[in-house]
């Protein structure tokens, strides 16, 4: 290889570039299209021209129309959630029966019969095992219903239509229209949503999408919303419509999350992340009938089991921690009781309580274990006898029993509403935080993305609590 020759080649290319003028790029593109047209003319035959494309176009006209686009979106979301709420009930209580009411006592008696010391059986069976069993009983059924339905919609081709509907709103808030897609992924899992932002080219818009993804209620938080809404919101109306009221409350929280996503995106794009909105082509793919069983199978294996495994991995040590802080005493108070009492004042100002705040600290690794932690800690401080003693996470057979415990713990409608708000607005789980760091490679933005939602959560719950108390 001769450097002088290469320089000559480049020299020649510079010269020729002047000669052929500046439509070179367009000319070349046109040549390619002309070639493509020639080739297709010889080898492709289309009969009965494009009948199915027209069907697709007709569906698109409805699902992306100004009038029906949004109602259809909410209807579909409502149906998916409805089926999840209704359908998850029975398998959940069945799993609870097996894992908690049958296996747990026999493990305990087995441990007693081999004379395992109380602290070891407590740590392993009441801490680690119960935490894992609870997560499986509560998480597996809704995920096994929600994920396949979501995947079916995805395979069918509905997601790009959602992006199309939301594009304008995102543009107005200074963000990229593809954020609608990453937002949808976030409804399944925020960590997955953060990774999915790679489809956004502009670093500015991608950062906005990463920071605000946490406002998509993730699947670890859906069960919390559903349970609390069922207990407290559903109880406000006659029982015939109570599950409808609960459903609307949950959808309301999900929508509020989207409102926050737009608002925060807008503020960011007007302040620290200023810039132009980039345009992009969004191809609406053809509707494809999903391969039903294959989709069910892969979404169960790939998504459900992977997310469940993650929950289990995080729940096991969390269960151990809960058991430990409930059973290690400093003076005559356990660490848990001490922490709860010291958080109570701050919790009251936010319309929450010390139990909830402690539960959110323990549950940083995984949002899924918030509710069991809250229940266990409530039993611990109120001293009521529904549970199985200090540091034992348990499942209550009926929603009513859960309600009794929470009410004994001093819960009101305000506590419930603020818990739902705080569940929406708090730091991302540790996996998501780590993913944000991996994607942004910036400690500054990782910290911002983690702290900003909690601060927002404090502000919102504080305001709601003050107004509530003023008016009540």
């Amino acid at each position: 290889m001769n450097h002088k020759n290469i320089d000559n080649i480049i020299e020649l290319s510079n010269e020729l570039r002047w000669q052929i003028g500046d439509d070179f790029h367009d000319n070349l593109t046109e040549s390619i299209y002309a070639d493509a047209a020639d080739i297709v003319k010889d080898s492709v035959q289309i009969e009965n021209s494009q009948r199915r494309f027209r069907l697709d176009a007709r569906i698109d006209k409805i699902v992306t129309s100004k009038t029906f686009g949004f109602p259809i979106m909410f209807l579909i979301l409502g149906i998916v959630l409805w089926l999840t709420i209704i359908g998850a009930n029975y398998p959940s209580s069945l799993l609870a029966d097996i894992l908690l009411d049958t296996i747990h006592p026999s493990l305990k008696s087995g441990a007693a019969s081999i004379q395992m010391p109380w602290w070891l059986s407590g740590f392993l069976i009441d801490g680690v095992y119960l935490a894992v069993a609870w997560v499986i009983a509560v998480m597996l059924p809704p995920m096994a219903i929600f994920f396949p339905m979501f995947t079916l919609l995805e395979d069918f081709g509905y997601l790009p239509r959602v992006a199309f509907n939301l594009d304008n709103l995102f543009k107005k808030s200074g963000a990229h229209g593809k954020q609608a897609l990453t937002m949808s992924m976030g409804f399944g899992c925020n960590a997955a949503g953060v990774v999915a932002t790679r489809i956004i080219d502009s670093p500015r818009e991608r950062l906005i999408a990463i920071i605000t993804n946490n406002f998509s209620l993730c699947n670890g938080r859906w069960p919390t919303q559903i349970l609390i809404a069922t207990i407290f919101i559903g109880a406000l109306v006659p029982s015939a419509v109570s599950s409808l009221a609960a459903l609307l409350a949950v959808i309301g929280i999900a929508l509020l999350g989207m409102v926050f996503m737009f608002a925060v995106s807008w503020v960011l794009s007007k302040t620290v992340l200023k810039g132009e909105v980039s345009t992009f082509n969004l191809e609406l793919p053809p509707y494809r009938p999903p391969r039903f069983w294959k989709t069910i199978y892969t979404s169960l294996i790939d998504r459900t089991l992977i997310v469940l495994w993650r929950a289990v991995v995080f729940a096991a040590p969390a269960g151990a921690v809960i058991w430990l802080i409930s059973n290690i005493y400093i003076g005559n108070e356990s660490i848990a009781a001490w922490a709860i009492h010291s958080f109570d004042g701050f919790g009251f100002i936010l319309g929450l309580n010390g139990v909830i705040l402690l539960a959110y600290i323990v549950a940083i690794p995984a949002n899924e274990i918030v509710i069991p932690t809250i229940l266990m800690l409530t039993v611990l401080v109120t001293g009521i006898s529904a549970g199985s003693g200090a540091g034992v996470m348990f499942e209550l057979d009926s929603v009513n029993a859960t309600a009794d415990i929470l009410k004994a713990g001093g819960w009101t409608l305000l506590t419930a509403i603020n818990l739902m708000l705080f569940s929406l607005l708090h730091n991302p789980c540790s996996t998501t935080i780590y993913t944000i760091y991996k994607e942004t490679k910036s400690i500054k933005w990782t910290v911002f993305a983690s702290v900003m939602p909690v601060v927002l959560g404090f502000i919102v719950t504080f305001l709601v609590a003050q107004f509530w108390r003023l008016l009540a």
């Binding site: 020759n5 080898s43 489809i199 793919p285």
Partner: protein, 254 residues
């Protein structure tokens, strides 16, 4: 191998179930590198999964594959590493995904590039195909989504297409695993030299540009006699592509 035939299919060269081993993510000690390119949402990931036995997430929306996925398979005792490139409509602009795809085909030197196209939208997909054929001379066209094409009453003359493009064409419905055995077999024939590709080169180029390209190509071929994509490099030089100029200076293109 147990030599008990279950059907006459097994005597056919295209049926080689015993010869295929899906290697999942084990891609060490491979003999060949296969790149998987194509427009967004043509089913590249589905083809990838069918070949490797991996279950990379697939979905019906463009741009779903954000990371370059790698997997492997073994066919007739030869190991292949398969690289799933991000879907692009073109290789002429400078967005990140297009550059990633182009760089891999150019510098990664895959032994064969499988271009997955949507049979329903062949004309639009050919834009990318024709660009790739300027860069590499070892390619296979995977005419995917044939089931949909059939429903849309689109029929494609594969022989004519194959002759016009100068590369083998395999019809497939990767979702139903149709055409995948043929695709694997064709890949192996290309990498082993049984099939020699004579890729189509862009024809309808205006006279003045063609003259300029000829001049440059001649010079480039004088310097690099065995280069397969001198014409494409000429195109890029005329475009003033800084990355290609740099690569040329550092001798990375040979």
């Amino acid at each position: 191998m147990d030599a008990k035939l279950k059907s006459t299919c097994e005597t056919c060269a295209h049926f080689n179930a015993d010869g295929l081993k899906k290697l999942g993510i084990r891609t060490d000690n491979f003999d060949f590198v296969v790149a998987l390119a194509g427009n967004p949402n043509t089913g590249k990931s589905t083809v990838f999964n069918a070949l490797t036995g991996l279950r990379q997430h697939t979905g019906n929306w463009p741009g779903k594959t954000v990371t370059r996925a790698e997997g492997g398979f073994e066919y007739n005792n030869q190991k292949y590493k398969l690289v799933d490139l991000p879907g692009t409509y073109s290789l002429l602009s400078t967005s990140e995904d297009e550059e990633a795809a182009r760089d891999f085909i150019l510098f990664g030197k895959p032994n064969v590039t499988v271009i997955v196209v949507d049979a329903n939208r062949l004309e639009r997909n050919l834009n990318l195909v024709l660009q790739i054929l300027e860069i590499t001379d070892k390619a296979v066209l995977c005419l995917n989504l044939m089931d949909e094409a059939k429903r849309n009453n689109i029929s494609i003359d594969q022989r004519t297409l194959s002759r016009d493009l100068g590369i083998p064409v395999v019809a497939a419905s990767a979702r139903y695993n149709e055409g995948i055995p043929e695709l694997i077999h064709t890949i192996s024939e290309v990498v082993n030299g049984t099939i020699i590709c004579k890729p189509h080169r862009i024809k309808n180029v205006p006279e003045n540009i063609e003259v300029a390209v000829k001049k440059l190509t001649t010079e480039i071929e004088k310097e690099f006699p065995n280069i397969p994509n001198s014409r494409w490099i000429a195109f890029r030089l005329l475009e003033g592509d800084a990355q290609i100029i740099k690569a040329l200076k550092q001798g990375e293109l040979v």
